[in-house]
């Protein structure tokens, strides 16, 4: 018996365009069922009750119990159980409800009738960034070994932007999946496996990722947090305006032997408040912060005001500032008036850091070490 597993290994095959919101399996299956695809009969349990027992009896046995978590590798982590009796089901459900899978507590447990099947197929839709189109990937060798198949026997995997390239038997399901993919603004839709039972196709597992940029029109999804901040292992805080410049700053710091503590992108056109928020976040784990601001749409004077305000309440935090762009002359003057030096290019910013590291005291700032 092969069990459903979600796979996320395709690298350049299945690239998800954009930041995405993951969706629970039971939600995805509901949607697919609404669109006419066959899913196992099921109940969704958030706490075991009399109603749950009735539901279980109605479903019959054997049953599959699946922890509803968004992390991958659920199977291996013990998130899928089987039950042949009511007692096993009750124990299993209660166990899974309390079990954290890779640090995540499940939203609930999806209990499904076990569908006996002879074959497992794989199908996914994703946004391919090179082709700039929607890519279908299909294989009749689906299931847990799909990873192996793609490497060892690539001829068994079809990758195409045309539904007509897929085997006729799977085209209707592919058409429905495409409709769902578009209607729900998905960046990834993966069914692994499609269980084939006497020629009937069942969706045994479903992974949906929703485009973060489309949440305004997909109200059924819970909003995720912004990813402008990533904590890293080091001790030098990094803030910049634009992902590219922040990444480049992190790269440069590492090349010079510093250890960045984080990535923080305040984006274009950031206000003084946003800058303050960034500084306050970063100083909670870092005494040294590098700010690399090259503003087009960002007003560097606004940034300077945020820096001064922060510095007044946090004089112990060592700031290395680079400001270039809109209003840079006024911004630099303002900083100088408030005793904060800043450079106008990355090279000088780096020199300041190197000087500081080799023990020299920076202009106008008193060095505080931990």
């Amino acid at each position: 018996m092969v069990f459903p597993k979600t796979i996320d290994f395709w690298g350049n095959f299945v690239f998800e365009g954009g930041d995405s919101m993951k969706v629970q399996e039971y939600v995805a299956k509901r949607i697919l069922s609404k669109h006419g695809l066959r899913v196992p009969k099921s109940i969704f349990v958030t706490s075991y009750s009399e109603e749950t027992e009735e539901g279980l009896l109605r479903l019959g046995f054997p049953l599959v119990l699946k922890s509803q978590v968004l992390v991958g590798g659920r199977m291996k982590a013990g998130g899928v159980l089987f039950a042949h009796t009511l007692e096993e089901a009750r124990e299993g459900v209660e166990h899974l409800l309390a079990k954290s899978i890779k640090g995540e507590i499940p939203e609930g447990v999806l209990v499904e009738e076990l569908i006996e099947h002879d074959e497992e197929w794989y199908i996914s839709l994703s946004v391919d960034r090179t082709l700039r189109d929607i890519l279908f990937i299909f294989s009749k060798s689906g299931g847990v070994d799909i990873e192996e198949v793609s490497t060892r026997e690539p001829e068994k995997v079809i990758k195409t932007t045309e539904i007509t390239d897929l085997p006729k038997i799977v085209q209707p399901i592919a058409k429905t999946l495409l409709e769902v993919f578009l209607e729900y603004d998905l960046t990834l839709l993966e069914i692994n496996p499609i269980g084939v039972s006497n020629g009937v196709l069942y969706v045994l597992d479903a992974v949906f990722h929703v485009d973060d940029n489309a949440l305004f029109r997909q109200s059924w999804v819970k909003k995720s947090s912004e990813e402008h901040f990533v904590r890293l292992d080091g001790d030098v805080g990094v803030i910049g305006c634009g992902a590219g410049i922040v990444m480049a700053t992190i790269d440069v710091l590492k090349e010079l032997g510093f250890e960045p503590a984080n990535f923080y992108d305040i984006g274009g056109g950031a206000s003084r408040e946003e800058l303050l928020k960034a500084l306050n976040t970063v100083c909670s784990f870092s005494n040294v912060v590098v700010l690399n601001i090259f503003g087009g749409i960002t007003d560097t004077l606004e940034v300077a005001k945020g820096i001064v305000e922060f510095s007044k309440s946090n004089p112990q935090i060592r700031l290395f500032v680079r400001l270039s762009g809109t209003h840079e002359d006024e911004a630099r003057e303002y900083l100088l008036e408030n005793g904060i030096s800043c450079t106008s290019d990355m090279k000088h910013l780096v020199e300041e850091l190197l000087n500081w590291r080799s023990g020299k005291v920076g202009e106008n700032r008193v060095l505080q070490t931990r």
């Binding site: 946004v127 910049g240 992902a243 410049i245 990444m247 480049a248 990535f263």
Partner: protein, 260 residues
Amino acid sequence: MLEYGTNIVCGVSKNVSVREVHGVPVYNSLRNFVEQHGEVSTAIFFVPSQHIFEAFEDALLAGVEKFVIITEHVPIHDTLEMVRAVRRERKVLIGPNCPGVIYPQERLKIGIMPEKYFKPGEFAIISRSGTLMYEMAKILSEGPGLGLCLGLGGDPIVGTNVAEAFEIVKEHGFEKVLIIGEIGGEDEVRGVEHALKIGFRPENIYAFFAGRHAPEGKRMGHAGAIVEGEKGKVWYKERAMIQMGVKVVRLPWELERMVI
């Protein structure tokens, strides 16, 4: 943009209370303007992401040929539709989520970049990052200067990819190009492969990548900059560039002495 010299003929806004900005008339639909006043070749978009597609359609129906979308967070399916439309009609879309285009030789700025750092000269820039484009432009401005600069945008799906950007740069007669890429996707490598096919010499191409030290599995900012397989990694791209004879810039200010 007006100050720089761009010929902005009208603005479009659904906000009916705004009828004029800096002497430029504002209409609530581009089609209305075009019906009365004739062709408009290019449109730059700042509308919020949820309305970009609608604004794009208006401009498309009004006969616009070149679209520059500054706005970020445009839904990926809307971008895919727009890409399909411009491919079908053989038009040009730059962006979304980009700083735009600047052409110092013609005093043309369709974007938000600080023009002070784009002194006219030899180097075209093709960039996936907005702020890094400014960074490198500043460095080149103190040396050989800039030609046509295209900010392609940071999203994983963009209207003009690096290969297409090289075609545009070639059309405008620039031979020296700096490409600025990031971790994620294969666009820069494929773009340079194409550039060499259409006549660019590898010794005239310089490449700078950000995200060399992005850790596995962590997304850092740009939707597109996510680690996804070997080909998306900076070391892979840099190696491919070197193999093609392209010069790789590791620290931004190194570019200065490399281009002498």
